[in-house]
């Protein structure tokens, strides 16, 4: 059962990943990204991490990609037309080098992880809201606070940028 789900969700996320870079229209790229994020949520579900899966949907699919779409539709209609007609050929070798390097690092890490890991039974309540909340507020309290500080800075920046320029 898990294997079937994994194969389907994995194939879909790969297809989505290809779609992100191969799509001609920016909106289609954003939709492909949505497919990637959605299939990742399914993978989280098969890993018994329900809370993370739902958060993945709400935050990434529900908020971040929607913002991408807003920007694409409102700010970029002309830019995206120019992008579609422009020749990205000069960037292609660089993209291949960095993409290949990233793929090599990920493959190396995954292979090493597979050799070292032994499957273990999940502790009770794994992936539940309670256990994640508990570890956020005890074990990972410092990163958690730093992240919230970062978000606060982001909010203040958005307010400052969004304010109408003063007349003085």
């Amino acid at each position: 059962m898990e294997i079937i789900l994994f194969v389907i969700a994995g194939a879909l996320s790969l297809a989505g990943g290809v779609g992100v870079v191969a799509a001609r229209k920016l909106v289609h790229s954003a939709l492909s990204l949505l497919l990637v994020l959605g299939s990742l949520a399914v993978l989280y579900l098969t890993l018994a991490a329900e809370f993370v899966a739902v958060l993945q949907i709400i935050l990434y699919a529900g908020a971040i990609v929607v913002l991408f779409l807003f920007v694409i539709m409102l700010v970029l209609p002309r830019v995206s037309a120019r992008l579609a007609s422009s020749d990205a050929g000069s960037l292609r070798p660089i993209a291949f080098v960095f993409g290949g390097a990233l793929a090599a690092i990920l493959a190396f890490g995954a292979l090493r992880g597979m050799r070292q890991m032994t499957p273990q039974a999940l502790p009770a309540g794994f992936g539940s809201v309670e256990s994640i909340g508990r570890s956020l507020f005890t074990e990972f309290v410092l990163p958690f606070q730093i992240a919230s500080l970062l978000l606060l800075i982001g909010i203040i920046t958005a307010v400052v940028l969004g304010k109408a320029p003063s007349r003085s």
Binding site: E50, F51, V54, I57, A61, A63, V66, L69, F70, V129
Partner: protein, 327 residues
């Protein structure tokens, strides 16, 4: 293994029954709205098809299905076609986690009246509603029409803004019930409905529910005078029908959620739980219609001002107060 298939079979049967139930209910909510709106405006409303107009939804559905299936010129075909499907699927999907009654004893087995008791149920509902935003925004974009695009953008901005209020109201309920599962939230209200302990959260949720469903007085995405019909302007036939079904189903869903979160769900004396659940939900559906007949539409800046400057601060204050009271 046989047990696993049994669980799957039970879920499939329940899902089919539930989908049939909520879609029929949706059809009759459209009739209810037209008749009730008629009464409120001192006219009769549709009463010609069938006894008392009871076959009107069927006639409407046949009309929509047999209409010409067109796609506007310059539309993004794939996106244009998938949007109504997505919106309707998300509207039906959330019913999987809403408990519509206590467990039923049938043929010696206990059958719970919900499809799934997920421990993140309420987040699942919020997530589904944030996914249906894509249907609106992309439906508007892919139609290749300025009215649709503006309507789609308005609709998604509105839904995203008011979802925050909705979530803040829900957090207050979660703090009382100490669970995200709707089944547990209903259980927790056995001795007292949350509307008594969280009146402000109830009010916030209720106001945000109107905005979430794009209903009057917050029906700006469909403001006829400015935008024709908003994101659904270029949709016709049953593709329009799917948007329409999703909209009315969302009204029932929000009413059911208010019932579940604040009015004790299926709890009630004498009558069976399912009847109580249906009655409470129906009450709120009628309030939705009543409000539409009563209040004029607000302006867009008023809508955003209300959401960001009044409701969200109130929601945050409410959470702080509830937390202090709970400690």
């Amino acid at each position: 293994m046989a047990n696993a298939w049994g669980i799957v079979a039970e879920a499939v049967v329940k899902s089919l029954l539930l989908s049939a139930l909520v879609l029929t209910a949706t059809a009759y909510v459209t009739l209810l709205e037209r008749r009730l709106l008629g009464r409120l405006q001192i006219r009769i409303g549709p009463d010609r098809v069938g006894p008392g107009g009871l076959l009107q939804p069927l006639a409407d559905a046949i009309k929509l299905i047999t209409k010409e299936d067109f796609i506007p010129a310059g539309a993004d075909r794939f996106v244009y076609l998938i949007c109504p499907v997505l919106v309707m699927a998300m509207a039906v999907f959330v019913w999987a986690v809403i408990p519509i009654g206590p467990s039923l004893d049938l043929f010696g087995t206990t059958i719970p009246l919900y499809v799934a008791d997920v421990n993140v149920a309420i987040l699942l509902i919020l997530g589904a509603s944030s996914l249906s935003v894509y249907g609106f925004i992309l439906g508007g974009w892919s139609s290749n029409s300025k009215y649709s695009l503006l309507g789609g953008l308005r609709s998604s901005a509105q839904i995203i803004s008011y979802e925050l209020t909705l979530a803040l109201a829900v957090i207050a309920v979660i703090m009382l019930a100490r669970s995200l599962s709707l089944v547990r939230i209903v259980e927790a209200q056995r001795d007292g409905w949350f509307i008594l302990r969280q009146p402000l959260a109830f009010l916030l949720f209720f106001v945000a529910a109107f905005a979430e469903t794009n209903r009057s007085p917050f029906d700006l995405p469909e403001a006829e005078q400015e935008l024709i019909a908003g994101y659904q302007t270029e949709y016709g036939g049953f593709k329009f029908g799917m948007f329409y079904v999703a909209e009315y189903l969302a009204i029932i869903t929000q009413s059911a959620l208010v019932t579940t979160l604040f009015l004790g769900g299926w709890h009630g004396p004498l009558l069976p739980g399912v009847v109580w659940f249906a009655l409470k939900t129906l009450l709120f559906v009628c309030v939705f219609v009543w409000v539409r007949a009563t209040l004029p539409r607000v302006r867009y800046d008023q809508l955003m001002g209300l959401g960001w400057k009044v409701l969200i601060p109130l929601g945050l204050v409410n959470i702080v107060i509830s937390a202090l009271l709970l400690i």
